[in-house]
């Protein structure tokens, strides 16, 4: 469980990507246009916790994950790991730090080199960083990692190639590759979204189980709030490059305060047909991150938006302990009750008996 001093501190992090334009467009317009993928994001990740970044596609969650690992350079802001500021350290220092910071990608079908055997894929990180003294130790470490991800017995898998493995087994290889260097922090970017339901549970349990054994901390990036709740401790909901709401995962989902979070949570289907609930969706579509709306970014789609929302950016306010939301009009479940009642009348036959 979280301890006092955060392992990772993220402060006012921004990442803007330049938009490429044709020569003519560039000549006749002023200034560079930017995609504001991540725009002023701050949070802490504590040791041994699973911090979830959730949101819809294009909200900037993957870019944030990459920034945390220094895989892309931030436009502004800082990421501090322990007491090292990742932006200011030298390449050598970063290289020495790399084995401590790892990533598990979304798609195990494209994140493994098809020409490397399982052994080579996993061993690469140790070899490149000279983390083992000799071949025996290398093999030993690789086998240990494979046992920890339950590719058992390792001998059966060592010399197989990715095409000889199932989706679940590939993702295990990807996880083994991430843990073999004994990392402290892993970014898991949608690690189960490409897998079948029956395999997802195994992989999620595996990731959870490794926390104790390896003394790990995760950033878990997902669009799936149900799996977020299953693995996560704290969650941050992102919308258009900014965090709308953050806090303990159960409390944010059960008691959302940002209007966006409330709608997002209601939109998630629930695997229980006896439960009658209304799935909501914000009107229209996510605006372009090139010119994000002023004020609260959600205001053009928000049912409660007023003038203030369009001009002034809402600050983060505390909902309860550790739970913060940036919204001028906190969500109140009563807001929807009237609507629900009207709907019930309209639809007298509930599902089932």
């Amino acid at each position: 469980m979280p301890t006092a001093e955060p392992l990772i501190k993220v402060r006012q992090l921004k990442k803007y990507f330049p938009v490429r334009r044709g020569l003519v467009a560039a000549l006749f317009s002023r200034g560079q246009i930017w995609v504001k993928a991540v725009d002023d994001v701050s949070f802490d990740i504590y040791k041994n916790e699973v911090f979830v970044l959730a949101g819809e596609s294009g909200c900037g969650k993957t870019t944030t994950g990459r920034l945390l690992l220094n895989l892309t350079e931030p436009t502004e802001g800082s990421v501090t790991y322990g007491n090292v500021d990742l932006a200011t350290i030298s390449k050598q220092e970063m290289k020495a730090l790399r084995p401590k910071l790892q990533i598990v990608f979304q798609d195990p079908y494209s994140s493994l080199n098809p020409r490397l055997s399982v052994f080579d894929s996993i061993a690469e990180c140790l070899e490149v960083n000279h983390l083992t003294a000799n071949r025996e130790e290398l093999t030993e470490r690789v086998k240990m990692a494979m046992e920890d991800v339950r590719l058992i017995p390792p001998e059966d898998f060592l010399y197989r190639y990715p095409h000889m493995l199932s989706g679940g087994q590939r993702q295990r290889v990807v996880i083994a590759r991430a843990i073999v260097s004994q990392p402290e922090f892993i970014v898991a970017d949608e690690p189960v979204s490409m897998l079948d339901a029956s395999i997802r549970a195994e992989i999620l349990d595996l990731l959870k189980g490794l926390i104790k054994k390896y003394d790990l901390t995760y950033l878990y990036i997902t669009h799936d709030l149900a799996s977020a709740r299953y693995v996560g401790n704290r969650i941050a909901i992102m919308y258009l490059g900014r965090i709308a709401e953050y806090g303990p995962v159960g409390r944010v989902i059960d008691n959302p305060k940002h209007q966006y979070t409330a709608i997002l949570v209601s939109a998630v289907p629930i695997p229980d047909p006896t439960l009658v609930h209304t799935r909501r969706a914000p009107v229209g579509e996510v605006p372009s991150p090139i010119n994000p709306p002023a004020g609260c970014r959600f205001h053009p789609r928000c049912p409660k938006a007023d003038e203030k929302c369009a001009t002034e950016e809402p600050p983060y306010e505390q909902v309860e302990k550790d739970h913060f939301a940036a919204c001028w009009h906190w969500f109140d479940p009563k807001q929807w009750e009237e609507e629900e009642k009207a709907l019930e009348k309209e639809k007298p036959k509930a599902k089932g008996k």
Binding site: A197, A201, V265, A267, D272, P273, T274
Partner: protein, 325 residues
């Protein structure tokens, strides 16, 4: 009489190594105005079932047996010419992956008009009008009919795909993973749309998806497929609350719920290859209650309770009891 009856349908792929029995003796029916879900893991034959119903099996696949009765008429025995008339006019499909299912070099409106011109005796002008109406219905601004697919977002493309499937006013629409690549908020919009259209046109819908939460939200009845067979087919509430097949239970309990889940079931192993599927019950190598009988004898797909079909020797023991740890 049900609107659509699929009886003992078999669709195989003929490849070098042998026959891939992708759909092997599948039986279910669809009533007017209802939505049934077909759920299962990838490779279980969900999409192939859809293609087989439409008689659209891609090479080297073929429907090798069984019947597909639409209003009593068998689609399996139709000639390609006859089938072309039935497709879209009677039964249409929303294909998987709206992102790639539209032609990138044709204007969106033109693609919908094309379906009309092919299947109805109608002038281009009237077809265009009809297309604009249907775009309006699915919530796309008709003035955008002259746009190309790349100018649309994923959700909009999916709406266009639905418009295309509905423009000819079919009785049955098969939706193959209509929301898989979409965000939940967009998914909610699309499914809501589908529901309202269903009411409006008294449509029957077959919803194919691997997402059990979506099934629970959207379907009246559910067929669970495993390795080319339907292992259980029942009312959605029965499937979630009184399932009688161990696979159904494992599958449902492997899905975390937004409301919180303490423990998820994981089914060991992976689905079998379908060239030489396991003997007896195809699920027996992964089943926690498999016995010798399961290994040797294929269970019958039987109606164990009224409107509750199951294919398991031990179905009588299940129900509310849990077989998975």
């Amino acid at each position: 009489m049900p609107l659509l009856e699929v009886q003992n349908l078999k669709a195989y792929f003929f490849v070098e190594k042998g026959e891939v029995k992708a759909v092997d003796d599948v039986t279910f029916n669809l009533e007017r105005g209802e939505t049934i879900g077909i759920a299962g893991e990838s490779g279980c034959g969900k999409s192939t079932t859809a293609f087989a119903i439409l008689n659209l099996m891609p090479h080297p696949g073929k429907v090798v047996g069984g019947h597909v009765l639409l209003d009593g008429e068998d689609l399996v025995t139709k000639t390609p010419e006859e089938m072309r008339k039935i497709r879209w006019r009677e039964i249409s499909m929303v294909f998987q992956g709206a992102m790639n299912a539209l032609n990138p070099v044709l204007r969106v409106g033109e693609q919908i008009v094309e379906a009309l011109l092919l299947h109805e005796d109608i002038t281009h002008e009237d077809a265009w009008k009809k297309m604009e109406d249907i775009l309006e219905v699915v919530g796309v601004d008709p003035t955008r009919a002259t746009n190309y697919p790349h100018e649309f977002s994923g959700g909009m493309k999916q709406r266009v795909m639905i418009a295309m499937a509905l423009v000819t006013e079919p009785k049955v629409v098969i939706c193959d993973e209509p929301t898989t690549a979409l965000d939940v908020t967009v998914e909610a919009q699309v499914l809501k749309l589908l529901k309202s259209l269903q009411k409006k046109f008294n449509l029957s819908v077959i919803l194919i998806t691997h997402d059990l939460a979506t099934i629970a939200e959207a379907c009246d009845r559910v067929a669970i497929m495993y390795a080319g067979k339907i292992v259980e087919f029942a009312d959605v509430v029965a499937i979630y609350k009184n399932r009688l097949h161990p696979y159904t239970e494992g599958l449902i309990r492997s899905v975390p719920s937004l409301l919180g889940t303490d423990h998820l079931v994981s089914i060991p192993g992976s689905p079998p290859g379908l060239i030489t599927p396991p003997s007896g019950c195809r699920f027996h190598p992964r089943c926690p209650i498999a016995t010798e009988l399961c290994m040797n004898q294929e269970p019958e797909f039987r109606e164990i309770k009224k409107k509750h079909w199951v294919m398991c020797h031990h179905a009588d023991q299940l129900g509310t009891k849990q077989v998975w740890k």
